[in-house]
Symmetry: C2
Subunit: 219 residues, 2 copies
């Protein structure tokens, strides 16, 4: 299937995870950097291909077949991220940029080689789950956004939901990394700031960051 189609179903899939209410042509279009008109055209075409259900003015809903295609692309994307991070020690921003291209030119055969080489990982370096070869996600996500974490509790960083270079540079400098431990010291409700301790350093994060850093409480 073409790159445009793979990116379209992927964008719908990702959108459904975060903003299901707004999975409409205009929203998908802005995420893909194309016009709303182009997105409407594509949605009609993919409906005839059985990849999604399109009804005028309604939100776009992937069919089972469309979701399977999206998960296949997502799998390849996240496998490449994990592989590039491990093998070449590339940053979270770099691996995303490269995986965005490689994901469309990766055979299922090669994806299995990469997965086996890595020991069939269940998560990529952002903490996002890697679907298995059947397009199933077998892990359960119990993480919460850091903005909702409790004061005086310890957490493990479990996801960094972003594609922004500056954010990842900040993370790299401050030890904010998938799997690392942090202590939440104080939530400043008024100013929407969060004070945490990481590697003995105290830092204060604003809501731009605490809404995209996800954590799991340590029991």
């Amino acid at each position: 299937m073409s790159v445009a189609i793979e990116n379209f179903v992927k964008a719908i899939y990702n959108n459904e995870k975060h903003d299901i209410a707004n999975t409409k042509p205009g929203n998908i279009a802005s995420k893909l950097g194309i016009s709303s008109a182009a997105a409407t055209d594509m949605a009609k075409k993919l409906d005839t291909k059985g990849l999604l259900n399109y009804e005028k003015y309604q939100k776009l809903r992937l069919t089972k077949k469309g979701e399977k295609m999206a998960l296949n692309v997502v799998r390849k994307h996240r496998l490449w991220e994990a592989f590039l991070h491990k093998t070449f020690d590339m940053s979270l921003h770099e691996i995303h940029r490269e995986a965005e291209l490689l994901e469309h030119e990766t055979s299922d055969f090669l994806a299995e080689k990469i997965s086996a080489y890595l020991g069939n990982p269940k998560f990529d370096p952002h903490g996002d789950p890697i679907p298995n070869a059947n397009g199933e996600i077998t892990t359960k996500d119990t993480s919460i956004a850091l903005i909702n974490a409790n004061e005086n509790k310890d957490y493990i960083i479990s996801r960094l939901i972003s594609t922004d270079k500056e954010f990842f540079e900040f993370c790299a400098l401050n030890g904010i990394k998938y799997g690392n431990k942090i202590a939440v010291k104080k939530q400043f409700k008024n100013s929407q700031m969060t004070q945490i301790i990481i590697n003995t350093n105290t830092i204060v994060l604003n809501q731009d960051f605490t809404q995209i850093i996800y954590v799991n409480e340590i029991n």
Copy 2:
């Protein structure tokens, strides 16, 4: 630059190495699996882009700029082949098939990472030279086709010029591999067969194979 353009200049580049007399639209078209008309159109377009010189009914000649683009793609192709062969132990046929796709979606940045990881190799697993980051091939090829080798001499296999799956399967079964040593026992001039000894096994090859296996004499 688009995949179609990259493949076009690459095909011209490769053709010039083996069959310079016939670097015309029809020949390039058949190598790319497109019509002659499409190749003529593309040649005109690439002329205006300064990638090649096109004159009606004349052979196509890459400009410096076009050759540089071709070498950049060839570099990425051969780096991927070397990498996939080493890291995932994939066959010569498999690495070619995957590299054919990945080469177009590989940034210069990633190519450098792959090259450094491999120790900046000068040859890929087929024995083809890998251009450096400036698009230069600094190695000199002194190999000859096995069909032209001398009887009772020892050689090192230096190139396997093919993309054929069956050929590579035969090679894998018989130890015919880049860098391996063989002894040429007899050239049967009439039947165009060549008898060689490899790993203590005696095998006889016909001209289909002895024209694409290249060797260097051991002094």
